[in-house]
């Protein structure tokens, strides 16, 4: 399209900002999850059919398609294995507050079958971060923990309770322990 075409001069741009508000009740299993993380404990549901442990609990096993409930609740560790990570160099898009490179890591907690994603890794130089690293949660002080970001979609929001994960100093986990969780 050329700049001098008459049609171009008649183009009109209108801004249409959309804001939609949703008020969602957490499912009973997520309510319980939220109660426990405020106390510094992580829980999941163990599928009665395949024994996989989902953290946070979904209320069902997507592989077996069976429902799970409070009877299937198990506590998992706040330590685990780093199964994957990205180091993000932020660009100044609208809403981006970070200016320095940061980490988005997935952590397979001991006792869980599903990694928790989007976790920060601190206390380790970015070029030393690697899969198989043993890490532990750095909990925010109880009074500073916030759970508003935890929704029925089942991911995100944990960073307002667990500030980051740091290296435990233990030897790396064997690849067999996390190879199903690499992506």
């Amino acid at each position: 399209m050329s700049a001098e075409s008459p049609a171009r001069k008649e183009e009109m741009v209108m801004e249409h900002l959309v804001s939609l508000t949703y008020r969602e009740r957490l499912t009973p299993s997520l309510n319980r999850f939220v109660d426990r993380i405020l106390e510094g404990e992580l829980i999941g549901h163990r599928c009665p059919s395949c024994s996989r442990v989902y953290v946070p609990p979904k209320g069902y096993c997507p592989l077996c398609v069976v429902t799970t409930s409070a009877e299937d609740e198990v506590q998992v560790s706040d330590r685990g294995i780093l199964t994957g990570f990205t180091i993000i160099t932020p660009v100044a898009y609208y809403g981006q507050q970070a200016t320095d490179p940061f980490v988005y890591a997935s952590v397979l907690l001991d006792g869980a079958s599903t990694p928790v994603g989007g976790q920060d890794i601190t206390g380790v130089a970015h070029d030393r971060i690697h899969t198989g690293m043993r890490v532990r949660a750095v909990w925010r002080p109880p009074a500073e923990r916030r759970v508003e970001g935890i929704t029925n979609r089942g991911w995100g929001g944990l960073d307002a309770v667990i500030e980051s994960f740091e290296a435990t100093g233990e030897p790396d986990a064997a690849p067999e322990a996390y190879k199903e969780h690499l992506f």
């Binding site: 209108m14 939609l20 949703y22 009740r25 499912t27 209320g59 997507p62 398609v65 429902t67 979609r153």
Partner: protein, 352 residues
């Protein structure tokens, strides 16, 4: 033509309810499992799955992906999604079955309207230049449609109230209904306007829910179900998006969809139609050409429960259930989408 050889053999729906405690996926887990159980099949026998939902309603991008977990999608399955009511997902699955290489298909629809403000959400399905910036919400649009219908002289406010009274009365026999009971037409007419000329009872409830159907081809359907609901035809047609350029006291695309689905105006035992606001039952009865003896919305219809994105598929289920149960030989189901009956789908079913 293969189209004559496909039938509904299993179905399930959740009760229609406000503020469901389960997530949308959880609503689907039990519903799909129940439909699979009713069909008497193993989940792995399903050759194609199609889902209908709306991310704007759920309030998250790609929300439909987690819904798929309820279908048992590992090992990988062949599936698709429509950003529409489950009835439109069923249309795609019905088309897929006509390819002839698979015998069984699953379609489902789900939505939770409670977490959002539907008046805000649905304004955004309108054209982005003229109507969406006005925030034209479904109730206001339906009131304009109701006014146009009154002005045409083809209905009165009493007719609207009679639609509501019939819906509530019939819904007393529907365990999944959200609103039911005996109501007096004069008492309804004594209520104040909500958005004139509509009163609150002329509006559907805000509902959460899910629905699923299993379809099978030919001998497979006969083997699995003693009296399948044979789909004799299904079609959907679309009117112009801008309500201002069409006659909103009728639904030409509904008339066309009924004709293309093979409905010839002949006898029908049951019609389950997506009349979301009471005046729309009068509009659709005319547009679809429903004969006098036809029982319209024996379930109570959307006025008794309106889980958007499942409500159209529930019309198909309610009609099919009456054929499978032996209470009806020929039934029509109707689903709609878009503002003021803009898009219309008709499914014509018969017993054998």
């Amino acid at each position: 033509m293969a189209a004559r050889d496909i039938a509904i053999i299993g179905y399930a729906q959740t009760p229609s309810q406000r503020d469901a405690i389960q997530s949308e996926v959880q609503l689907l887990v039990g519903t799909i499992t129940d439909a699979v159980t009713m069909a008497g099949i193993n989940r792995r026998e399903i050759g194609f799955t199609c889902a209908g939902s709306c991310d704007y309603l759920t309030g998250g991008p790609f929300a439909f992906v987690s819904n798929l977990e309820a279908a048992g999608s590992w090992p990988p399955i062949s599936e698709s999604h429509v950003e529409a009511d489950g009835a439109f997902a069923m249309y795609e699955a019905w088309m897929r079955l006509q390819e002839g290489d698979i015998d069984i298909a699953l379609a489902f629809g789900s939505g939770k309207s409670s977490p959002s403000n539907p008046a805000e959400v649905w304004a955004h399905q309108l054209d982005p230049y003229y109507l969406a910036p006005l925030g034209a919400d479904p109730v206001s649009l339906a009131a304009i449609q109701a006014r146009a219908l009154l002005d045409s002289g083809r209905a009165t406010e009493r007719d609207f109230a009679e639609v509501v009274a019939r819906s509530r009365a019939r819904a007393t026999a529907n365990p999944n209904a959200q609103l039911s009971g005996a109501v007096d037409v004069d008492a309804l007419l004594a209520a104040p306007y909500h958005t004139a000329p509509l009163r609150r009872h002329d509006l559907p409830p805000i509902s959460d829910g899910a629905a699923a159907v299993i379809m099978a081809r030919g001998d497979k359907a006969r083997e699995l179900c003693s009296r399948p609901a044979w789909i004799r035809g299904m079609d959907h047609r679309i009117d112009p998006h801008q309500p201002g350029v069409r006659d909103i006291t009728t639904a030409r695309s509904a008339t066309m969809a009924a004709q293309k689905a093979g409905y010839d105006g002949g006898p029908l035992d049951v019609a389950e139609i997506s009349a979301t606001f009471s005046p729309q039952e009068i509009i659709l009865r005319e547009a679809l050409g429903l004969p006098d003896g036809t029982e319209i919305n024996p379930s109570g219809g959307p006025l008794a429960g309106n889980p958007v994105m499942a409500v159209g598929l529930i019309r198909v289920i309610e009609a099919a259930a009456r054929i499978i149960g032996g209470g009806a030989d020929r039934a029509l189901a109707h689903a709609t989408a878009g503002p003021l009956l803009q898009q219309n789908l008709v499914c014509l079913m018969e017993g054998e």
